[in-house]
Symmetry: C2
Subunit: 207 residues, 2 copies
Amino acid sequence: MSLVTKQQKIRRTQAEIRVFREKALLRAALVTVAKFDIEGATVARICAEADASRGLITHYFDNKEDLLVAALSNLFNEAQSFKDAIAKDDNLSAITRIHDIANSSFQAPVYTWEMAAAWQAYSSASRFNKAYQEPIRLSTQKFINTVAPLFKLLAAEQPLRLQPEEAARGLFIFINGLWNSMASEENDIRAEEAIMQCDVYINGCLK
Amino acid sequence: MSLVTKQQKIRRTQAEIRVFREKALLRAALVTVAKFDIEGATVARICAEADASRGLITHYFDNKEDLLVAALSNLFNEAQSFKDAIAKDDNLSAITRIHDIANSSFQAPVYTWEMAAAWQAYSSASRFNKAYQEPIRLSTQKFINTVAPLFKLLAAEQPLRLQPEEAARGLFIFINGLWNSMASEENDIRAEEAIMQCDVYINGCLK
DNA sequence: ATTAATTTGTTGGTCGTCCAACTTTTATTT
DNA sequence: AAATAAAAGTTGGACGACCAACAAATTAAT
């Protein structure tokens, strides 16, 4: 289990080292939060996951909290750009795009077990840690800004039971609930059923 | 703020003392979890909330974890009996009873901010603490056992888009998501809207 | 040679549990 | 009914485990 077996002494530039370590620490932070919850994500565990020594966190980040916040922000970027791409596809009808965005929330790369688990840990902790609230608020707003216009398009075709923004918010909250359910070990729900449940909600928005 | 102002030296039997302390500690544990999250619910804080000294937790419970689990189990009893009562009311139609159960989930006494906050903390922590999983699994099952028969009744009147049990599970998960949203400080959603959102889902179950 | 990367022992702090001393209630004896 | 012994309730200091941040020393890159 020595470092030598994992990676032969490779000579790298400092720029490469810096990028490599930062990525490794960000990934390790997310994985460790998913595995052990926020309070279980200790410096020792994160660094072990990243094959780094304990001192490296404070060398590359101000402190542990700073790393955890950065890891949280990272969590959204890929997922959001994926959804944006679907929303912009004019070839598809509004309702198809809404369905596709919901579906993508339960398949890689937008959904992985680790992301759902980490998300649950962060959003629960956000009530007590102001630093987590801003990234979460931002991602919520981005989702609504992406999906509400699609519901507005849909409203032009057939009447809805609620305002476009309310529909987008409801879908976001439902997806969150489904993620939490899927994050639990008991795994009482599968991606297939989650997608179907979203379809039921979207259908319920129609009059 | 002295003890004397709160309660004059009253002579009580040991049985009374025991009941009084246990109730106080259980309530204090729940409130403290709601206020400070699981890891923030320290022995010192719980006992301060219960007007007791630190040593009393181990006198009335095996240890702190034991108290937290007992407080979690307590959380469900009242809420569940309330929903059961609605489900059994034969004067109302199936769909009315489903709506009423959903509505009751966002009004006292079934819903309080503290209950939603504590619930979120416990269910997030349950992935890492086996002791929390059983009470949560049980309450989930009870909800489904209560609501699924109502959807089955409804299915006799008009076709549904999913199985009665799936509909009950979906409603449970959606309510959970709404609770989490309402538990957050930002309070981006109100009871009124939560009830409407549930109505949308229930409507979506119909063909 | 100078700067950056890395390691690891140390420091100061928090926490749950234990425990010995103390108080109040209950049971027993006189 | 009063005195006394036993049991239960209560308190807060002490202990050991754990942790994040720090810092001095070592190694590697420039």
